[in-house]
C-alpha cells in the first residue's frame, strides 16, 4: 500500500494553507504529522481523506490518482480530537454502524465487534450510551469504529488531546499495537514531540504549512536537517546560539570554546548556529567533552526526579535539564555545561552540517 502526495498545495482566497508538499507515506507504520496548531496538520489530513481538494498537485493511492475521488468512494476512517459518536446509539450500534453501511451480515458484524471491543476493553460497555461513558471510553468507541471499518487509510487527528494525561499514556501505548495487524495506512497528527517519539514509525515536522522534514521519527529528532525542524521537534525548546569557527576552534559569544575535531574539522571557518537540547545543557559536566558557560538563574522547575533551569546566558534565555533536585535562587550565578558531542551545527542558511 502506498499513499503519495505529489506537489500538493492549498491556497484559499489569497492565503496559502499548504505550500507545495510531496510526501511518500510508509505502509505498516505510524506516519506522524508533528506541528503546532495551524501548522497545517488537519488540512493535510483533509486532503488525504478527500474532504478537501488541493489547489495544485495530486494524491496517489496504490499507484492510482485519487485526487478527484470523493471521500465517500475512498475507504477512509477518521478519528477526531473531539469524541464523535452517534449520541442515540449504544456503543455496540456505534461500532456496528460503518459495517452496516457496507452491508455486512449480522454474524460478521457481531464477531468483529466483539473482537475489537475486546482489544479496546469496551466489552462491558457495549450496551451503554456514549454519554454514560468516560472520555477515554468514548474515544475508544470512536477508535473501534475506525478499526472495524477496515479502512485502508486511517487518519487520527490528535485523538488523545482531550484525554487525561495517564489515559493518554495508556492509549498511546495501545494504538500502534491495535493498528499493526489491521493492514491500514495510519496517519497521526499531534502537537507533542514526545508523543511522536513514543509512537515511533515515521514523522513529518510541519511548520506554517510547510513539511520541513520527513523520515523515521528518531532520525528526524536526532538529525533535524534545519534549525526550524529542530525547533518543531523539541519539547522543552532546543537552545540555539551563534557560534564562530576559526583556527580549528568553535567559540561561543558567551566565552566558551571547544576544539573542532573529527568531521567538524573539515567545516570552513565562519558563523554557525549551534543547537543543543536542554538535557545536553546540564548543571554537572558530562566527561571531558563538556564546556562551561556562566549563567544567571531565572527560574527553576523541579519535577521530582529532574530539575529544569531557565537561565540567561549572554543575553539569551537557555533551558537546562538535569537529573536530581537542584533548588536554585533567582539571580544566582551558576555554571552550565554544554555536552559538545551532542551539538547540532547549522550553517548560515540554517541547514544541518554536523550532528
Amino acid at each position: 500500500m502506498t499513499l503519495q502526495l505529489k506537489n500538493v498545495s492549498l491556497v484559499r482566497d489569497t492565503e496559502t494553507h499548504i505550500y507545495p508538499t510531496s510526501l511518500d507515506l510508509v505502509d505498516g507504520q505510524f506516519n506522524t504529522l508533528l506541528g503546532t496548531t495551524l501548522a497545517g496538520k488537519t488540512t493535510l489530513m483533509r486532503i488525504m481523506a478527500g474532504l478537501e481538494r488541493p489547489t495544485q498537485g495530486q494524491v496517489w493511492f496504490d499507484g492510482e490518482d485519487i485526487t478527484r475521488v470523493p471521500v465517500q468512494k475512498r475507504n477512509v476512517a477518521m478519528v477526531y480530537q473531539q469524541f464523535i459518536n452517534y449520541p442515540n446509539f449504544t456503543v455496540y450500534d456505534n461500532i456496528a454502524s460503518p459495517m452496516k453501511l457496507l452491508g455486512k451480515d449480522k454474524k460478521t458484524i457481531d464477531d468483529a465487534i466483539h473482537r475489537v471491543a475486546d482489544l479496546l476493553k469496551l466489552t462491558p460497555m457495549l450496551h451503554r450510551m456514549p454519554n454514560e461513558l468516560s472520555g477515554g471510553q468514548q474515544q475508544r468507541t470512536a477508535l473501534a469504529r475506525a478499526l472495524v471499518k477496515e479502512a485502508r487509510l486511517v487518519l487520527l487527528d490528535e485523538p488523545l488531546a482531550n484525554l487525561d494525561y495517564k489515559l493518554r499514556e495508556e492509549l498511546r501505548d495501545e494504538l500502534p499495537k491495535l493498528f499493526r495487524h489491521s493492514g491500514a495506512m495510519v496517519v497521526y497528527a499531534t502537537t507533542e514531540p514526545s508523543e511522536a517519539l513514543l509512537l515511533g514509525g515515521y514523522s513529518a515536522a510541519l511548520f506554517e504549512g510547510k513539511v520541513l522534514q520527513f523520515g523515521p521519527t528518531v532520525d528526524v529528532y536526532s538529525k533535524p536537517d534545519s534549525a526550524e525542524s529542530a525547533r518543531v521537534f523539541s519539547d522543552p525548546p532546543i537552545n540555539l546560539a551563534k557560534v564562530n569557527k576559526a583556527h580549528g576552534q568553535f567559540s561561543l559569544s558567551a566565552g566558551a570554546g571547544w576544539a573542532a575535531n573529527g568531521e567538524a574539522h573539515a567545516l570552513p571557518d565562519g558563523e554557525y548556529t549551534v543547537g543543543f537540547r536542554p538535557h545536553h545543557l546540564t548543571l554537572t559536566p558530562h566527561g571531558d567533552t563538556s564546556v562551561k558557560v556562566s549563567a544567571e538563574v531565572l527560574l527553576t522547575e523541579i519535577s521530582g526526579s529532574e530539575s529544569t533551569v531557565h537561565a540567561v546566558v549572554d543575553g539569551h534565555t537557555w533551558i537546562s535539564l538535569s537529573h536530581g533536585v537542584h533548588s536554585l535562587d533567582k539571580g544566582q550565578t551558576i555554571d552550565l555545561f554544554i555536552d559538545t558531542r551532542k551539538c547540532l551545527m547549522f550553517d548560515d542558511k540554517d541547514r544541518l552540517v554536523l550532528s
Binding site: 481538494r53 489547489t55 478527484r68 470523493p70 465517500q72
Partner: protein, 287 residues
C-alpha cells in the same frame, strides 16, 4: 482544469426546492412585475405604461401616510417586543421543571392562527361585552377601538406584542443558555454587577440571535395584515390602515391592479433594503 463539483448527482436533490420556489415565489413575482408596468381593464387586454404607476404611487399622499403608519407601528412594536422578550428570557429559569413549563407557555400564542388572534382580540376588547374593553371603561378610561384612533392603535399594538413577544423570548433564551457557565463564574469573581453581566456578557453573546429576532419581527410586523384587518378593518377612518391593508384595498377593493402591483414592488424593495442595511450594520464588527 476544472475544479468544479465532484458529485453532480447532488444537484438533483435540490430540484424539488428549486421547482417549489419557482412556483410560489419567482413566477408570482414576475406576474406582479408584469402588472406593474401595464394598464388593464380585464379581458386580458394590456397597455404598456412604463414606470407610470411607480411614479403615481411614490407621489401619492395615501401611500406616504400608509408608509408612515407602517414605520410607526413597526417601530413601536420592536421597541416593546425586543426589550420585553429579552427581559422575560432573562427571568426564565435555567433548569428544573420550570423550564419546560415556561417554554410551553411561551409557545402557546405562537401556535394560534393570525385571524383567530384578530377575532379573539376583537371580542376581548369590545367596550360593551369584552373583558378588556368593559374593564377599562369601568375603570374610567374612555376606551373604544372602533371609534377612537388611539384606542385602536393601542389595541393593535397590544395584540401584536401579545402574539409575538414569545418568539423573541424563545430566541433570546436559546442564546442565553448557550453561554458557558465559566463566563458567569468569572464575572462573579470579578465582582461584576447584574447590569455589567448583562451588558458585557449576555448582550454580546446574544447579539446574533437578537439580530435574527429583530429581522424576523421587522419583516413580519412590516407586512402585518390579518390581525388589524380582522380587528379594525383599517379604521376608524384610515388610522390603522397599514401598507398591506392599503394594498389589498387598492387591488381588490378598487381593482387598480397596475398601481397595486407597483406598490407591492416598492413595498418589497423597502423591506429588502431595510433588512439588508440592518444586517450589514450589525454584523460589520464581527471578526
Amino acid at each position: 482544469m476544472s475544479q468544479k463539483a465532484q458529485n453532480n448527482k447532488a444537484w438533483w436533490l435540490v430540484m424539488p426546492v428549486v421547482i417549489l420556489v419557482a412556483f410560489n415565489a419567482v413566477i408570482p413575482l414576475m406576474t406582479v412585475v408584469n402588472y406593474s408596468v401595464q394598464e388593464t381593464f380585464g379581458d386580458n387586454v394590456f397597455f404598456y405604461e412604463g414606470l407610470k404607476w411607480f411614479g403615481q404611487v411614490l407621489h401619492s399622499e395615501r401611500f406616504h401616510e400608509a408608509l408612515g403608519r407602517q414605520f410607526l407601528f413597526t417601530g413601536i412594536v420592536l421597541l416593546i417586543e425586543i426589550p420585553l422578550g429579552v427581559a422575560i428570557a432573562l427571568a426564565m429559569p435555567r433548569k428544573g421543571i420550570g423550564v419546560s413549563i415556561c417554554l410551553v407557555l411561551m409557545s402557546l400564542p405562537l401556535l394560534i392562527p393570525w385571524n383567530v388572534v384578530g377575532a379573539m382580540w376583537n371580542i376581548f376588547a369590545l367596550p360593551d361585552i369584552g373583558l378588556l374593553g368593559k374593564t377599562l371603561n369601568a375603570m374610567g378610561f374612555d376606551y373604544n377601538y372602533t371609534r377612537q384612533p388611539f384606542s385602536a392603535w393601542a389595541t393593535v399594538v397590544a395584540m401584536d406584542v401579545w402574539h409575538w413577544t414569545s418568539l423573541v423570548v424563545l430566541l433570546a433564551y436559546a442564546g442565553l443558555t448557550a453561554i458557558p457557565e465559566d463566563y458567569f463564574q468569572a464575572a462573579r469573581i470579578d465582582g461584576a454587577s447584574a447590569w455589567s453581566v448583562f451588558r458585557y456578557i449576555q448582550l454580546p453573546k446574544m447579539k446574533r440571535v437578537l439580530t435574527i429576532a429583530i429581522l424576523l419581527r421587522f419583516m413580519d410586523s412590516f407586512m402585518i395584515y390579518t390581525e388589524p384587518f380582522v380587528l379594525t378593518g383599517g379604521g376608524p377612518g384610515n388610522t390603522t390602515t397599514f401598507l398591506s391593508i392599503d394594498l389589498v384595498k387598492m387591488a381588490l377593493g378598487q381593482f387598480d391592479l397596475g398601481p397595486a402591483a407597483a406598490m407591492s414592488i416598492i413595498y418589497f424593495l423597502i423591506i429588502l433594503l431595510v433588512s439588508w442595511l440592518f444586517y450589514t450594520f450589525t454584523m460589520r464588527n464581527e471578526n
